[in-house]
């Protein structure tokens, strides 16, 4: 007996139903991941996460409502939060609306949500219809970002099983589900970050005019969502222009299209800002000024705060905000045991990198020494600088494994290059790592400047990394996984671990947390 179930060939054999796994499964499974992620985020956004319990949600929604009701773009320090929205936000602590600090952000996400607001208005006379409609569409945007990241992993030559496993892992991070089911522009940042990575990789492999245009559009749109995205511009543009230049013919035309498409949208926004504020990219710095600023060097700063640990742990999950109507921020930082479930697989993947880099070095003494001396220097530098003094043990291990793993694997590539062997995909992986490192460096410098002026550690949210999380994965995880014969099973196993952990976190911690203050 033979029957069809979608594109799966399902048969009954020896009275046991089996499915023949085919390439079609791995083509369709990412859509399954997308569907399940969106469903999870939508139900969480509709029923679990209270309104205004996502950072800045009240500001983003007020921004959209202003646009939808024809009030135009809000002006930083002038436009107040919408009165009806404010009254709901401060239900237990009535007062006059404050100014909308989210007005500092470029408007793309908010403009895109205006039609959604209109559709939501059809089902509810209050603003709750539009509010939840926007949460649903935002979940779809985030899901699309995951789908594109899975395509990215295929593009860099990772097995389809690993791409699927990574997709499931990304779908099972509490912070992702939480931010997806919210009125917040981070989902669009994530989607456009994935698109930029995808088209940048395609250009690096074979720079077609169509992909160059698409990269320009993705960059241009990303810059119009959040200023953080602009940090991706210099390394991605520089590397793309280099690739186009190496291609030869049509350099000026292609590079001009790329630059115009990526820079023109933010250029328009800068012109608007200059007319409105007299500044190019004004931001609200009221929370970052203190009468007692710190006086410390960058080195002292690194030694005094567990910066990397805080960024990493808040990337896994920092839930909650001001949803209880009392104007008090209440966070749920997921506990250490859950962080271990998310971090240990990363440490193992980095260990694979180190193992295969060292094994590659055993081919010859010259090759071994080429990797070993650079790695040794990196480790010495790491400990001489003492930057890890305050890092939490789990993340200390991750960094101490990660630095030699990446240094040795890059040295391995450089050695091959010296021998005249060029591996285009390896170059792409290292390029992706450079983009991430550039972003990390800029962010650390920003945290330092915020911290010094405000007198306390500031600006360490892991969600800031959403535009480059794909770059991090391609840059740091590909080397070892491409060489490990059981990488598919390993990553899919990690996907199951992540899925179980996320469910445990939501049901055991997050749901009671969101109910805690009534």
């Amino acid at each position: 007996m033979e029957m069809r179930f979608g594109d799966f060939a399902v048969g009954v054999s020896s009275s046991l139903m089996t499915i023949r796994l085919s390439a079609r499964f791995y083509q369709l499974a990412p859509w399954g991941v997308l569907g399940f992620f969106v469903l999870k985020a939508v139900v969480s956004g509709l029923f679990v996460v209270r309104p205004w319990d996502v950072p800045d949600e009240v500001g983003h929604f007020s921004y959209i409502k202003d646009l939808a009701s024809g009030k135009g773009l809000p002006v930083l320090h002038e436009t107040l939060l919408d009165k009806a929205v404010w009254d709901s936000f401060v239900a237990n602590a009535p007062g006059e609306p404050g100014s909308n600090w989210i007005a500092q952000h470029p408007p793309l996400y908010h403009l895109l949500m205006v039609p959604v607001y209109g559709v939501g208005s059809l089902v509810s006379s209050s603003f709750w219809g539009p509010f939840y409609a926007i949460r649903i569409v935002t979940a779809v945007l985030f899901g699309a970002g995951i789908l594109f990241l899975m395509k990215v992993f295929n593009e860099v030559g990772l097995p389809q099983t690993v791409s699927l496993g990574f997709g499931i892992m990304i779908s099972s991070i509490p912070n992702h589900t939480y931010l997806a089911g919210a009125v917040n522009h981070d989902a669009l940042v994530f989607l456009l970050g994935s698109l930029v990575l995808y088209y940048w990789i395609r250009i690096c492999k074979s720079p077609s005019d169509s992909d160059i245009l698409k990269l320009g559009i993705a960059l241009g749109l990303g810059g119009l969502v959040k200023y953080t995205f602009l940090v991706v511009f210099p390394p991605v543009l520089a590397m793309s222009l280099f690739v186009i230049w190496k291609r030869g013919p049509g350099f000026w035309k292609s590079s001009a299209s790329l630059c115009v498409l990526s820079l023109f949208p933010i250029g328009l926004w800068i012109v608007r800002n200059l007319f409105t504020y007299g500044a190019m990219l004004p931001v609200d710095m009221t929370g970052f000024q203190s009468e007692r600023p710190l006086d410390m060097s960058l080195l002292q700063f690194g030694r005094s705060f567990p910066v990397f640990s805080i960024i990493a742990q808040t990337y896994w999950g920092l839930l909650g905000w001001m949803g209880d109507g009392n104007l008090q921020v209440r966070w749920l930082q997921i506990y250490s045991v859950y962080q271990q479930a998310y971090t240990v697989p990363i440490i193992l993947i980095l260990t694979l990198n180190l193992f295969y880099a060292v094994r590659s070095g055993t081919e010859s003494w010259r090759r071994f020494l080429y990797g070993a001396d650079r790695t040794f220097l990196a480790i010495i530098l790491l400990f001489v600088l003492n930057w890890l003094d305050e890092e939490y043990t789990l993340y200390w291990i991750m960094i101490v494994v990660g630095v030699p793993a990446l240094t040795w694997s890059i040295s391995d590539y450089l050695f091959d290059r010296k021998q005249g062997k060029v591996d285009r995909l390896r170059e792409i992986e290292i390029g992706a790592l450079l983009v991430f490192c550039f972003f990390l460096t800029v962010h650390i410098l920003r945290i330092y400047s915020f911290t010094v002026s405000s007198g306390a550690l500031q600006g360490t949210f892991g969600r800031y990394y959403l535009p480059v999380s794909g770059f991090l994965m391609v840059g740091c995880f590909s080397y070892g996984l491409k060489r490990f014969p059981w990488s598919g099973q390993f990553i899919l196993g990690c996907g199951i671990l992540y899925g179980c952990t996320e469910m445990y976190i939501w049901l055991h911690e997050a749901i009671p947390f969101f109910e805690l203050y009534g």
């Binding site: 046991l16 499964f25 399954g32």
Partner: protein, 215 residues
């Protein structure tokens, strides 16, 4: 072997694995109460009280938060000592009118601080008196309690105190495990809709791993 492998990683078996995993997790999770931080002590420089010698007691009037009224909650008290070999026992009592509950914490050995949580229930959202008493056998190396100098509400009272101090205590809400699914979801259908994606993702991972060597 080939048939068994095909069966193990088939679509129906994969769905069973996903649903089974989620079902087992749900059963485990709803059997366990969830303890959530409700109200933390004020951050300030810690001051360790004099040691809890036999019979020495410190009391402080605490306001039971309204969200914890008539419910089970945990109250965390911090013990501390500068002695490396500090050890001792204490009795912790919370009283509100006629309603009183006590716990005995034995062999407290803070290095240099120790947080101990005690379970209470059935208190109204009103002032209650917390008493921490040193037990027989305690000595000069017994721990004291952690306090701050600039607190809110009533100050701590007790012998040996030569300055105004306020106990550092944390409040925790205990959410019964059986209530978790009904806390945020209006009915079982919605709860199932929320659980399905977890099962689906686990199923996809399971089925996908069956073809890992082929791809």
């Amino acid at each position: 072997m080939g048939n068994i492998r095909r069966l193990l990683f088939s679509l129906p078996f994969g769905i069973l694995v996903g649903l089974g995993t989620v079902a087992v997790l749900v059963v485990l999770i709803v059997r366990e109460d969830s303890v959530q931080p409700y109200k933390n002590h004020k951050w300030a420089e810690d001051i360790i009280s004099p040691p809890l010698l036999d019979g020495v007691e410190f009391t402080q009037v605490l306001e039971v938060p309204s969200g914890l009224a008539q419910q089970e909650f945990l109250l965390a008290v911090f013990f501390g000592s500068k002695q490396a070999n500090s050890v001792g026992s204490a009795e912790i009592t919370l009283e509100q009118g006629e309603h009183s509950q006590s716990h005995i914490a034995e062999n407290l050995a803070p290095r240099s601080t120790l947080r101990k949580r005690f379970s209470f229930s059935g208190f109204a959202a009103a002032p209650a008196v917390l008493t921490i008493r040193g037990m027989p056998g305690n000595s000069e190396i017994s721990p004291g309690v952690l306090c701050i100098a600039e607190g809110e509400g009533a100050a701590m009272e007790g012998e040996l105190l030569d300055q105004s101090l306020y106990l550092s205590v944390d409040w925790f809400k205990v959410v019964p495990g059986g209530q978790k699914l009904s806390l945020r979801f209006p009915n079982i259908t919605v709860a199932i809709f929320w659980l399905v994606p977890f099962a689906g993702l686990i199923s996809l991972a399971w089925i996908g791993s069956g073809g890992a060597k082929d791809s």
